[in-house]
Amino acid sequence: MSATDLPDDDRALAGEYVLGLLAPDEARAFAARLADDPALAAEVARWQEDFAPLAGEAAPVMPPARVWRATSARLFGARRRGWLTWGLPLAAAALAIALMLAPDLFSRGPTAPVDPAFRAEIAAEDGSLALAAAYDADTGALYLERRGGSPAPGRAHELWLISGDALPVSLGVLPTDRTALSLTLDPELRRDLEGATLAVSDEPLGGSPTGLPTGAVLAAGTLTPA
Protein backbone atom coordinates (compact mmCIF):
# COMPACT_ATOMS: atom_id res chain seq x y z
CA MET A 1 0.00 0.00 0.00
CA SER A 2 1.10 3.51 -0.63
CA ALA A 3 0.62 6.86 0.97
CA THR A 4 -2.51 7.34 -1.08
CA ASP A 5 -4.16 4.36 0.65
CA LEU A 6 -5.73 3.15 -2.53
CA PRO A 7 -6.39 -0.57 -2.54
CA ASP A 8 -4.16 -2.48 -4.95
CA ASP A 9 -7.23 -3.38 -6.95
CA ASP A 10 -7.91 0.29 -7.74
CA ARG A 11 -4.29 0.99 -8.53
CA ALA A 12 -4.22 -1.85 -11.02
CA LEU A 13 -7.59 -0.72 -12.41
CA ALA A 14 -6.21 2.81 -12.90
CA GLY A 15 -3.23 1.31 -14.74
CA GLU A 16 -5.50 -0.78 -16.96
CA TYR A 17 -7.61 2.30 -17.64
CA VAL A 18 -4.56 4.30 -18.72
CA LEU A 19 -3.28 1.47 -20.89
CA GLY A 20 -6.68 1.22 -22.57
CA LEU A 21 -7.22 -2.37 -21.49
CA LEU A 22 -10.63 -2.03 -19.89
CA ALA A 23 -13.68 -3.10 -21.83
CA PRO A 24 -15.81 -0.11 -22.89
CA ASP A 25 -18.39 -0.57 -20.12
CA GLU A 26 -15.71 -1.05 -17.47
CA ALA A 27 -13.87 2.02 -18.72
CA ARG A 28 -17.05 4.09 -18.54
CA ALA A 29 -17.80 2.92 -15.00
CA PHE A 30 -14.24 3.69 -13.96
CA ALA A 31 -14.29 7.14 -15.57
CA ALA A 32 -17.51 7.93 -13.73
CA ARG A 33 -15.76 7.32 -10.40
CA LEU A 34 -12.94 9.74 -11.23
CA ALA A 35 -15.00 12.88 -10.85
CA ASP A 36 -15.76 12.17 -7.19
CA ASP A 37 -12.55 10.45 -6.20
CA PRO A 38 -9.49 12.72 -6.33
CA ALA A 39 -7.19 9.97 -5.03
CA LEU A 40 -8.24 7.74 -7.91
CA ALA A 41 -7.86 10.61 -10.39
CA ALA A 42 -4.37 11.26 -8.98
CA GLU A 43 -3.55 7.60 -9.51
CA VAL A 44 -4.59 7.87 -13.14
CA ALA A 45 -2.39 10.95 -13.56
CA ARG A 46 0.48 9.10 -11.89
CA TRP A 47 0.20 6.21 -14.33
CA GLN A 48 0.09 8.64 -17.25
CA GLU A 49 3.30 10.28 -16.02
CA ASP A 50 4.98 6.98 -15.29
CA PHE A 51 4.16 5.44 -18.64
CA ALA A 52 4.84 8.55 -20.75
CA PRO A 53 8.59 7.85 -21.07
CA LEU A 54 7.68 4.60 -22.84
CA ALA A 55 6.45 6.74 -25.72
CA GLY A 56 10.15 7.42 -26.30
CA GLU A 57 10.46 3.82 -27.51
CA ALA A 58 8.49 4.80 -30.59
CA ALA A 59 11.03 6.43 -32.90
CA PRO A 60 10.17 10.06 -33.73
CA VAL A 61 9.15 10.57 -37.36
CA MET A 62 8.90 13.97 -39.00
CA PRO A 63 5.36 14.31 -40.36
CA PRO A 64 5.02 15.58 -43.94
CA ALA A 65 4.28 19.30 -44.33
CA ARG A 66 0.76 18.58 -45.57
CA VAL A 67 -0.29 17.56 -42.05
CA TRP A 68 0.46 21.03 -40.69
CA ARG A 69 -1.21 22.63 -43.70
CA ALA A 70 -4.34 20.53 -43.23
CA THR A 71 -4.41 21.18 -39.50
CA SER A 72 -4.02 24.93 -39.78
CA ALA A 73 -6.50 25.10 -42.65
CA ARG A 74 -9.02 23.25 -40.52
CA LEU A 75 -8.50 25.41 -37.47
CA PHE A 76 -7.89 28.79 -39.04
CA GLY A 77 -9.73 28.63 -42.33
CA ALA A 78 -8.88 27.35 -45.76
CA ARG A 79 -6.19 29.50 -47.28
CA ARG A 80 -4.80 26.63 -49.23
CA ARG A 81 -7.21 25.49 -51.85
CA GLY A 82 -5.73 25.00 -55.31
CA TRP A 83 -5.16 27.84 -57.72
CA LEU A 84 -8.19 27.17 -59.84
CA THR A 85 -10.77 26.92 -57.08
CA TRP A 86 -9.85 30.34 -55.69
CA GLY A 87 -12.27 32.77 -57.19
CA LEU A 88 -12.99 36.41 -57.20
CA PRO A 89 -13.62 36.65 -53.43
CA LEU A 90 -10.02 35.80 -52.76
CA ALA A 91 -8.71 38.24 -55.31
CA ALA A 92 -10.88 40.89 -53.67
CA ALA A 93 -9.54 39.95 -50.26
CA ALA A 94 -5.99 40.13 -51.54
CA LEU A 95 -6.71 43.55 -52.97
CA ALA A 96 -8.17 44.67 -49.66
CA ILE A 97 -5.05 43.52 -47.86
CA ALA A 98 -2.91 45.32 -50.40
CA LEU A 99 -4.86 48.54 -49.87
CA MET A 100 -4.60 48.13 -46.13
CA LEU A 101 -0.86 47.72 -46.38
CA ALA A 102 -0.31 50.46 -48.89
CA PRO A 103 0.21 53.29 -46.36
CA ASP A 104 3.03 51.32 -44.81
CA LEU A 105 4.83 51.30 -48.10
CA PHE A 106 5.37 55.00 -47.71
CA SER A 107 6.57 55.04 -44.13
CA ARG A 108 9.76 57.00 -43.71
CA GLY A 109 13.22 55.99 -42.68
CA PRO A 110 12.79 52.27 -42.10
CA THR A 111 15.67 50.40 -40.57
CA ALA A 112 16.58 46.76 -41.06
CA PRO A 113 15.50 44.48 -38.19
CA VAL A 114 18.24 43.65 -35.72
CA ASP A 115 17.20 40.07 -35.29
CA PRO A 116 15.14 38.96 -38.27
CA ALA A 117 13.41 35.58 -38.18
CA PHE A 118 13.59 35.19 -41.95
CA ARG A 119 15.54 36.63 -44.82
CA ALA A 120 15.12 36.42 -48.56
CA GLU A 121 17.16 37.50 -51.54
CA ILE A 122 14.70 38.44 -54.24
CA ALA A 123 16.73 38.42 -57.39
CA ALA A 124 16.22 38.19 -61.13
CA GLU A 125 18.18 35.43 -62.79
CA ASP A 126 19.88 37.93 -65.08
CA GLY A 127 20.68 40.29 -62.21
CA SER A 128 18.47 43.06 -63.61
CA LEU A 129 16.53 43.34 -60.34
CA ALA A 130 17.59 42.57 -56.79
CA LEU A 131 16.00 43.15 -53.40
CA ALA A 132 16.89 41.98 -49.93
CA ALA A 133 14.10 41.20 -47.48
CA ALA A 134 14.22 40.64 -43.73
CA TYR A 135 11.25 39.83 -41.54
CA ASP A 136 11.00 40.76 -37.87
CA ALA A 137 8.72 38.21 -36.20
CA ASP A 138 8.27 40.33 -33.07
CA THR A 139 6.79 43.30 -34.88
CA GLY A 140 5.49 41.62 -38.03
CA ALA A 141 7.55 44.09 -40.09
CA LEU A 142 8.93 43.07 -43.45
CA TYR A 143 11.90 45.22 -44.37
CA LEU A 144 12.89 45.55 -48.01
CA GLU A 145 15.89 47.08 -49.63
CA ARG A 146 16.17 47.60 -53.35
CA ARG A 147 19.70 46.80 -54.45
CA GLY A 148 19.28 47.18 -58.15
CA GLY A 149 16.79 47.54 -60.96
CA SER A 150 13.76 49.75 -61.54
CA PRO A 151 10.47 49.34 -63.39
CA ALA A 152 10.24 49.93 -67.12
CA PRO A 153 8.84 53.37 -68.06
CA GLY A 154 5.10 53.47 -67.42
CA ARG A 155 5.21 50.21 -65.44
CA ALA A 156 5.37 49.31 -61.74
CA HIS A 157 6.93 46.62 -59.61
CA GLU A 158 4.48 44.84 -57.35
CA LEU A 159 5.55 42.63 -54.44
CA TRP A 160 3.78 39.33 -53.74
CA LEU A 161 3.85 36.81 -50.94
CA ILE A 162 3.18 33.17 -51.84
CA SER A 163 2.90 30.71 -48.94
CA GLY A 164 2.83 27.03 -49.76
CA ASP A 165 0.36 26.40 -52.56
CA ALA A 166 -1.81 29.40 -51.71
CA LEU A 167 -2.51 32.18 -54.17
CA PRO A 168 -0.11 35.11 -54.26
CA VAL A 169 -1.11 37.91 -51.93
CA SER A 170 -0.14 41.41 -52.95
CA LEU A 171 2.05 43.29 -50.49
CA GLY A 172 1.80 46.43 -52.54
CA VAL A 173 3.57 48.33 -55.28
CA LEU A 174 7.23 49.03 -54.61
CA PRO A 175 7.97 52.76 -54.45
CA THR A 176 10.59 54.02 -56.86
CA ASP A 177 11.63 57.10 -54.90
CA ARG A 178 13.47 55.30 -52.12
CA THR A 179 15.55 52.18 -51.72
CA ALA A 180 14.39 50.94 -48.31
CA LEU A 181 10.92 50.37 -47.00
CA SER A 182 9.19 48.53 -44.23
CA LEU A 183 5.67 47.16 -44.30
CA THR A 184 3.67 45.45 -41.60
CA LEU A 185 2.28 42.09 -42.55
CA ASP A 186 -1.30 41.34 -41.75
CA PRO A 187 -1.38 38.80 -38.88
CA GLU A 188 -3.02 36.26 -41.20
CA LEU A 189 0.03 36.40 -43.42
CA ARG A 190 2.57 35.92 -40.64
CA ARG A 191 1.77 32.30 -39.94
CA ASP A 192 3.40 30.55 -42.80
CA LEU A 193 6.43 32.56 -43.76
CA GLU A 194 9.08 29.90 -43.50
CA GLY A 195 9.80 28.74 -47.03
CA ALA A 196 7.29 31.19 -48.49
CA THR A 197 8.19 32.99 -51.71
CA LEU A 198 8.49 36.73 -52.20
CA ALA A 199 8.14 37.69 -55.82
CA VAL A 200 8.12 40.88 -57.85
CA SER A 201 5.97 41.14 -60.95
CA ASP A 202 5.80 43.67 -63.75
CA GLU A 203 2.45 45.50 -63.53
CA PRO A 204 0.69 48.60 -64.83
CA LEU A 205 1.24 51.78 -62.83
CA GLY A 206 -0.71 51.50 -59.58
CA GLY A 207 -0.38 47.73 -59.51
CA SER A 208 -2.29 44.74 -60.76
CA PRO A 209 -5.92 45.56 -61.45
CA THR A 210 -7.04 42.03 -60.61
CA GLY A 211 -5.39 41.46 -57.25
CA LEU A 212 -3.31 38.72 -58.80
CA PRO A 213 -0.12 39.11 -60.82
CA THR A 214 -0.90 40.02 -64.43
CA GLY A 215 2.60 40.62 -65.75
CA ALA A 216 5.84 38.67 -65.83
CA VAL A 217 7.42 37.57 -62.58
CA LEU A 218 10.73 39.40 -62.69
CA ALA A 219 12.37 38.16 -59.52
CA ALA A 220 11.68 35.76 -56.69
CA GLY A 221 13.28 34.56 -53.49
CA THR A 222 12.51 32.21 -50.61
CA LEU A 223 12.14 33.28 -47.00
CA THR A 224 14.53 31.17 -44.99
CA PRO A 225 15.34 31.28 -41.25
CA ALA A 226 17.95 33.96 -40.65
Binding site: A12, A45, Q48, A55, G56, E57, P60, W68, R191
Partner: protein, 180 residues
Protein backbone atom coordinates in the same frame (compact mmCIF):
# COMPACT_ATOMS: atom_id res chain seq x y z
CA UNK B 1 14.92 20.24 -28.23
CA UNK B 2 12.24 22.14 -26.38
CA UNK B 3 12.29 22.18 -22.60
CA UNK B 4 9.34 21.50 -20.38
CA UNK B 5 9.10 25.26 -19.77
CA UNK B 6 8.95 25.95 -23.52
CA UNK B 7 6.15 23.48 -23.99
CA UNK B 8 4.29 24.80 -20.98
CA UNK B 9 4.62 28.34 -22.29
CA UNK B 10 3.49 27.39 -25.80
CA UNK B 11 0.49 25.52 -24.42
CA UNK B 12 -0.46 28.49 -22.24
CA UNK B 13 -0.20 30.83 -25.23
CA UNK B 14 -2.05 28.37 -27.45
CA UNK B 15 -4.87 28.44 -24.90
CA UNK B 16 -5.01 32.23 -25.48
CA UNK B 17 -5.37 31.64 -29.22
CA UNK B 18 -1.73 32.41 -30.08
CA UNK B 19 -1.20 30.70 -33.43
CA UNK B 20 2.53 31.37 -33.51
CA UNK B 21 2.95 29.56 -30.19
CA UNK B 22 0.80 26.71 -31.49
CA UNK B 23 3.02 26.42 -34.53
CA UNK B 24 6.13 26.29 -32.34
CA UNK B 25 4.47 23.60 -30.26
CA UNK B 26 3.74 21.67 -33.44
CA UNK B 27 7.27 22.19 -34.75
CA UNK B 28 8.87 20.77 -31.63
CA UNK B 29 6.49 17.98 -30.64
CA UNK B 30 4.91 16.71 -33.86
CA UNK B 31 7.73 14.27 -34.73
CA UNK B 32 7.46 12.56 -31.36
CA UNK B 33 3.66 12.41 -31.50
CA UNK B 34 3.66 11.32 -35.14
CA UNK B 35 6.12 8.54 -34.30
CA UNK B 36 3.79 7.39 -31.56
CA UNK B 37 0.69 7.48 -33.81
CA UNK B 38 2.62 5.62 -36.49
CA UNK B 39 3.74 2.99 -34.01
CA UNK B 40 0.20 2.42 -32.76
CA UNK B 41 -1.60 2.63 -36.09
CA UNK B 42 1.13 1.20 -38.32
CA UNK B 43 -0.38 3.00 -41.30
CA UNK B 44 1.07 6.23 -42.60
CA UNK B 45 -2.06 7.80 -44.04
CA UNK B 46 -4.05 7.00 -40.94
CA UNK B 47 -1.29 8.29 -38.68
CA UNK B 48 -1.29 11.57 -40.62
CA UNK B 49 -5.04 11.93 -40.11
CA UNK B 50 -4.60 11.04 -36.47
CA UNK B 51 -1.88 13.65 -35.97
CA UNK B 52 -4.12 16.30 -37.49
CA UNK B 53 -6.94 15.34 -35.10
CA UNK B 54 -4.53 15.33 -32.19
CA UNK B 55 -3.40 18.89 -32.86
CA UNK B 56 -6.99 20.03 -33.35
CA UNK B 57 -7.67 18.60 -29.88
CA UNK B 58 -4.56 20.29 -28.53
CA UNK B 59 -5.66 23.64 -29.95
CA UNK B 60 -9.07 23.34 -28.31
CA UNK B 61 -7.92 21.67 -25.11
CA UNK B 62 -4.73 23.60 -24.35
CA UNK B 63 -6.55 25.64 -21.72
CA UNK B 64 -7.73 22.67 -19.74
CA UNK B 65 -4.74 20.36 -19.59
CA UNK B 66 -3.63 21.52 -16.15
CA UNK B 67 -6.90 20.32 -14.68
CA UNK B 68 -5.67 16.79 -15.23
CA UNK B 69 -2.56 17.40 -13.15
CA UNK B 70 -0.25 16.20 -15.91
CA UNK B 71 3.02 17.62 -17.08
CA UNK B 72 2.68 19.24 -20.51
CA UNK B 73 4.52 16.57 -22.52
CA UNK B 74 2.65 13.79 -20.72
CA UNK B 75 -0.60 15.45 -21.61
CA UNK B 76 0.38 15.72 -25.29
CA UNK B 77 1.46 12.10 -25.32
CA UNK B 78 -1.80 11.04 -23.65
CA UNK B 79 -3.90 12.98 -26.18
CA UNK B 80 -1.98 11.43 -29.09
CA UNK B 81 -1.94 7.93 -27.69
CA UNK B 82 -5.60 7.91 -26.69
CA UNK B 83 -6.65 9.18 -30.08
CA UNK B 84 -4.49 6.67 -31.95
CA UNK B 85 -5.79 3.82 -29.81
CA UNK B 86 -9.40 4.90 -30.35
CA UNK B 87 -8.77 4.78 -34.08
CA UNK B 88 -7.07 1.42 -33.84
CA UNK B 89 -10.03 0.00 -31.91
CA UNK B 90 -12.51 1.38 -34.42
CA UNK B 91 -10.51 -0.08 -37.27
CA UNK B 92 -10.35 -3.45 -35.52
CA UNK B 93 -14.08 -3.35 -34.79
CA UNK B 94 -14.76 -2.53 -38.44
CA UNK B 95 -12.50 -5.34 -39.63
CA UNK B 96 -14.09 -7.63 -37.06
CA UNK B 97 -10.92 -9.48 -36.42
CA UNK B 98 -7.37 -9.67 -35.21
CA UNK B 99 -5.82 -9.42 -38.66
CA UNK B 100 -3.72 -6.54 -37.51
CA UNK B 101 -1.71 -8.40 -34.92
CA UNK B 102 0.95 -9.69 -37.28
CA UNK B 103 1.30 -6.35 -39.00
CA UNK B 104 1.69 -4.52 -35.72
CA UNK B 105 4.32 -6.94 -34.51
CA UNK B 106 6.51 -6.02 -37.49
CA UNK B 107 6.56 -2.39 -36.46
CA UNK B 108 8.41 -3.02 -33.22
CA UNK B 109 11.88 -1.55 -33.20
CA UNK B 110 14.84 -3.89 -33.30
CA UNK B 111 16.83 -4.61 -30.14
CA UNK B 112 19.26 -1.82 -30.92
CA UNK B 113 16.57 0.83 -31.15
CA UNK B 114 15.07 -0.45 -27.92
CA UNK B 115 18.37 -0.18 -26.09
CA UNK B 116 18.83 3.38 -27.29
CA UNK B 117 15.32 4.34 -26.32
CA UNK B 118 15.82 2.78 -22.91
CA UNK B 119 18.73 5.03 -22.14
CA UNK B 120 16.30 7.97 -22.12
CA UNK B 121 13.23 6.32 -20.79
CA UNK B 122 13.88 6.56 -17.09
CA UNK B 123 12.33 4.81 -14.21
CA UNK B 124 9.46 2.97 -15.81
CA UNK B 125 11.89 1.08 -18.02
CA UNK B 126 14.08 0.08 -15.08
CA UNK B 127 10.96 -1.16 -13.31
CA UNK B 128 9.71 -3.02 -16.38
CA UNK B 129 13.10 -4.71 -16.51
CA UNK B 130 12.42 -6.08 -13.05
CA UNK B 131 9.37 -7.91 -14.38
CA UNK B 132 9.63 -11.24 -16.10
CA UNK B 133 10.35 -10.64 -19.81
CA UNK B 134 6.98 -11.67 -21.22
CA UNK B 135 5.10 -9.62 -18.63
CA UNK B 136 7.08 -6.51 -19.42
CA UNK B 137 6.44 -7.15 -23.11
CA UNK B 138 2.71 -7.37 -22.43
CA UNK B 139 2.71 -3.95 -20.71
CA UNK B 140 4.73 -2.49 -23.58
CA UNK B 141 2.38 -4.06 -26.12
CA UNK B 142 -0.59 -2.44 -24.42
CA UNK B 143 1.07 0.97 -24.16
CA UNK B 144 2.96 1.20 -27.43
CA UNK B 145 0.92 -0.96 -29.76
CA UNK B 146 -2.51 -0.54 -28.25
CA UNK B 147 -2.87 -4.28 -27.80
CA UNK B 148 -6.00 -5.44 -25.99
CA UNK B 149 -6.26 -8.32 -23.52
CA UNK B 150 -7.52 -10.44 -26.41
CA UNK B 151 -4.48 -9.50 -28.54
CA UNK B 152 -2.12 -10.20 -25.67
CA UNK B 153 -3.77 -13.51 -24.75
CA UNK B 154 -3.34 -14.63 -28.33
CA UNK B 155 0.26 -13.40 -28.57
CA UNK B 156 1.31 -15.13 -25.36
CA UNK B 157 -0.96 -18.16 -25.89
CA UNK B 158 -2.72 -17.93 -22.55
CA UNK B 159 -6.43 -17.69 -21.74
CA UNK B 160 -7.93 -14.21 -21.59
CA UNK B 161 -8.46 -14.24 -17.82
CA UNK B 162 -4.96 -15.51 -17.16
CA UNK B 163 -3.63 -12.64 -19.25
CA UNK B 164 -5.61 -10.17 -17.24
CA UNK B 165 -4.46 -11.61 -13.92
CA UNK B 166 -0.84 -11.49 -15.13
CA UNK B 167 -1.07 -7.96 -16.25
CA UNK B 168 -2.82 -6.67 -13.17
CA UNK B 169 -0.15 -8.28 -10.99
CA UNK B 170 2.51 -6.75 -13.19
CA UNK B 171 0.94 -3.32 -12.70
CA UNK B 172 0.93 -3.69 -8.92
CA UNK B 173 4.59 -4.74 -8.99
CA UNK B 174 5.41 -1.86 -11.29
CA UNK B 175 3.69 0.59 -8.98
CA UNK B 176 5.64 -0.75 -6.00
CA UNK B 177 8.89 -0.44 -7.91
CA UNK B 178 8.04 3.08 -9.13
CA UNK B 179 7.42 4.19 -5.58
CA UNK B 180 10.62 2.77 -4.14
Amino acid sequence: MATRDNIEDWLARTAQGDRAAFKLLYRDTSAKLFGLCLRILNDRAEAEDALQEVFVKVWHGAGSYRANGLSPMTWLIAVARNHAIDRLRRRQAAAGGMDEAAEIADARPGPEAQVMARAEAGRVVACLDELEGARAEAVRGAYLDGETYADLAERFSVPFNTMRTWLRRSLIKLRECLER
